[in-house]
């Protein structure tokens, strides 16, 4: 239920600069996702918000109050960790109740709140078990339960799904989104998985080398990436980048086109290519081609189409969908 503002936040570890001046406004009730490659500083940024790391310079405000100097507990935020960080020697009940116990709530209050959280998260039957006796998904839910009992101002998630298998990840993704809807709480979520970012976020913050590359809704980032980095990072399969003569013809140093915006035709077309390999997903086919003019390209075709390696074909780029970038990697709109 709160707004988090970051003003010129910097963090150095020794001489290494991890966060290079981030300004960010995280809206009340929104689902904001920090996404970026490994080592881009997204987890560090989350830990700075949580208060687990000290800022080198800058300020963090929660609901207009400067919390830069406050400890993690006084910021009234809750965090779900990648390893879940459950307390192994405590039962599920005590794990969920631990923050309330630390806040010196009465036994009756703790019991009622733990019960309610367990009901929300389908953990009622597991309250007396230890974390070691639970499956990955259940542990994840206990970690979330420990976060929600405190009724925090905002939830911070640090790659919470990366230890789960693919099927469970999709399910937990839905559960977290439902939780966001039902609680209406501000959530900040860190992931390196751009699919997770695209599906869950209201707003995505793309980070690269400790800088914010772009902030926007998932479709904004998909349709109008501001930099070469964002264009390459968002979207799967990756956007095709073409430089050289064709790019100059469009008045850019590099042009980009997403695999889904490339049409394939028979060998009579303008741009010739040969199929190197095809990935059949059933709903789509990803065709990796080599073109004398454009180099290696990926094409996404709807449906399951015949694509034998070595077959010659032609490519047509949808002119309305071409992204243009200047020599410094900035988009030209």
């Amino acid at each position: 239920m709160s707004r988090i503002e970051l003003n010129a936040v910097r963090k150095n570890f020794g001489t290494l600069s991890v966060i290079n001046g981030v300004d960010l406004d995280i809206y009340d009730g929104g689902f904001t996702v920090f996404v970026g490659p490994s080592g881009c500083g997204k987890s560090t940024l989350l830990r700075l918000i949580a208060g687990l790391e000290d800022l080198t310079s800058g300020h963090i405000l929660i609901d207009g109050r400067d919390v830069t100097e406050l400890g993690p507990a006084q910021r009234e935020l809750a965090m779900v960790f990648q390893s879940y960080a459950l307390y192994p020697h405590m039962s599920v009940r005590n794990n969920i109740g631990f923050p309330l116990k630390m806040a010196k709530q009465s036994e009756a209050v703790i019991d009622a709140k733990v019960r309610k959280a367990a009901e929300t998260l389908n953990l009622k039957d597991f309250l007396d078990r230890r974390p070691g006796q639970l499956s990955g998904g259940q542990r994840q839910r206990v970690a979330i339960g420990r976060a929600i009992v405190r009724e925090p101002k905002a939830f911070l998630f640090d790659e919470p799904l990366s230890n789960l298998d693919a099927a469970l990840r999709v399910q937990m993704r839905l559960e977290i989104m439902q939780l966001h809807k039902s609680l209406g709480a501000t959530m900040v979520y860190v992931t390196h998985d751009q699919v997770e970012a695209m599906t869950m976020a209201d707003r995505i913050v793309v980070l690269n080398q400790g800088r914010v590359e772009q902030v926007g809704s998932p479709l904004e980032l998909y349709d109008r990436p501001k930099t070469l980095f964002v264009a390459g990072f968002i979207g799967s399969p990756k956007m095709n980048f073409i430089s050289g003569a064709l790019a100059s013809k469009h008045g850019a140093a590099t042009i980009g086109i997403r695999p889904e915006h490339v049409q394939i035709g028979d060998a009579s077309g303008a741009i010739h290519a040969t199929i190197r390999i095809a990935e059949h997903l059933g709903s789509d086919t990803f065709i990796h081609v080599d073109s004398a003019d454009l180099g290696a390209m990926t094409v996404r075709a709807t449906g399951n189409i015949e694509a034998a390696p070595g077959t010659a074909l032609s490519l047509t780029l949808d002119p309305a969908r071409i992204h243009r970038f200047d020599a410094s990697g900035q988009a030209i709109f």
């Binding site: 687990l52 990648q82 960080a85 307390y87 923050p99 630390m102 420990r146």
Partner: protein, 287 residues
């Protein structure tokens, strides 16, 4: 080891070592039991034959026996208390990042590598000697009368020496356990509002329950038999434990029969203590 066949092969393969170990244990034990029922005094080799339970009777009714049992238990308890509490404190300190940490750890563990006889000699002659010991010098420096450690507080002196040897062991085991504590749990408890004391009480101590149990059990086994420190510092007459009393009967009184009986009584006492400990804290070893 899944099939019956491979299990049988495994048993056959380990059999030689198991048999040797078994003999290694059982032959001295049976001999001791046999001697404990004999009239077997090296000063009176002519008197032999069965003694019945008289060796046991004389050992238990010896004037020194109650004191020896008490000294044994006091030594075990005090050294364990000092080494566990002190070891916990040292481990917490050594777990902090500071310059030269590796070197400090090496120094801290070194007392454990010194032979008990040597360390007892060092303590006896260099530190606790009432005339030229370091402690005496320090006491004189502030105008006190030097304390004659081994005459006035013999049991405490032995306990101090043994604690000095065992403290590093406890500190090292607890330190390694501390280092295996998940950093994210510390972060999580900080988010949950736990300050250092709560973190220590609810997260760290439960995590350390198992290594502390191991320390207590191992130290008990070794401390029940502590001998070199008592023998070298010549406090056996004042603060001798059961082991010393067995030595006294066997090698000073030359009564092998009674010494054997005493040894078996010490074994029984060690077992009683072990059973008690496993009952009380052995639960910590289960997951």
């Amino acid at each position: 080891m899944a099939t019956r066949h491979s299990q049988g092969l495994a048993r056959l393969a380990v059999a030689p070592s198991v048999i040797i170990l078994f003999l290694w244990m059982i032959v001295p034990l049976v001999m001791t039991i046999y001697f404990s029922f004999l009239r077997y005094n090296l000063l009176n080799p002519d008197i032999g034959g069965w003694a019945g339970f008289s060796n046991y009777y004389y050992f238990i009714t010896d004037d020194s026996f109650p004191g020896a049992v008490l000294n044994t238990l006091l030594l075990v308890a005090s050294v364990i208390a000092v080494s566990v509490i002190g070891g916990l404190g040292l481990a917490l300190l050594m777990d902090q990042p500071f310059w030269g940490r590796g070197f400090v750890r090496l120094l801290v563990i070194s007392p454990f590598f010194i032979m008990p006889t040597v360390s007892a000699l060092v303590w006896k002659n260099l530190l606790m000697n009432p005339i030229y010991g370091l402690f005496a010098y320090l006491q004189e420096l502030v105008g006190l009368t030097p304390l004659d450690w081994f005459a006035k507080v013999p049991l405490l002196s032995v306990a101090i020496i043994a604690s000095w040897q065992w403290l590093p062991f406890a500190a090292l085991i607890i330190l390694t356990a501390l280092q295996s504590l998940d950093e994210e749990q510390k972060d999580a408890s900080a988010m949950d509002g736990a300050r250092f004391f709560s973190y220590f009480r609810y997260i760290m101590l439960p995590h350390l329950a198992r290594p502390i149990t191991v320390v207590i059990l191992i130290e008990t086994i070794f401390l029940l038999n502590i001998f070199a420190e008592i023998y070298v510092t010549s406090v056996g007459g004042l603060a001798g434990n059961l082991t010393y009393l067995v030595y006294f009967q066997g090698l000073l009184n030359f009564d092998i029969g009674e010494a054997s009986a005493g040894g078996l009584i010490a074994v029984v006492l060690a077992n009683l203590v072990s059973i008690f400990l496993v009952r009380v804290i052995g639960r910590n070893l289960e997951i």
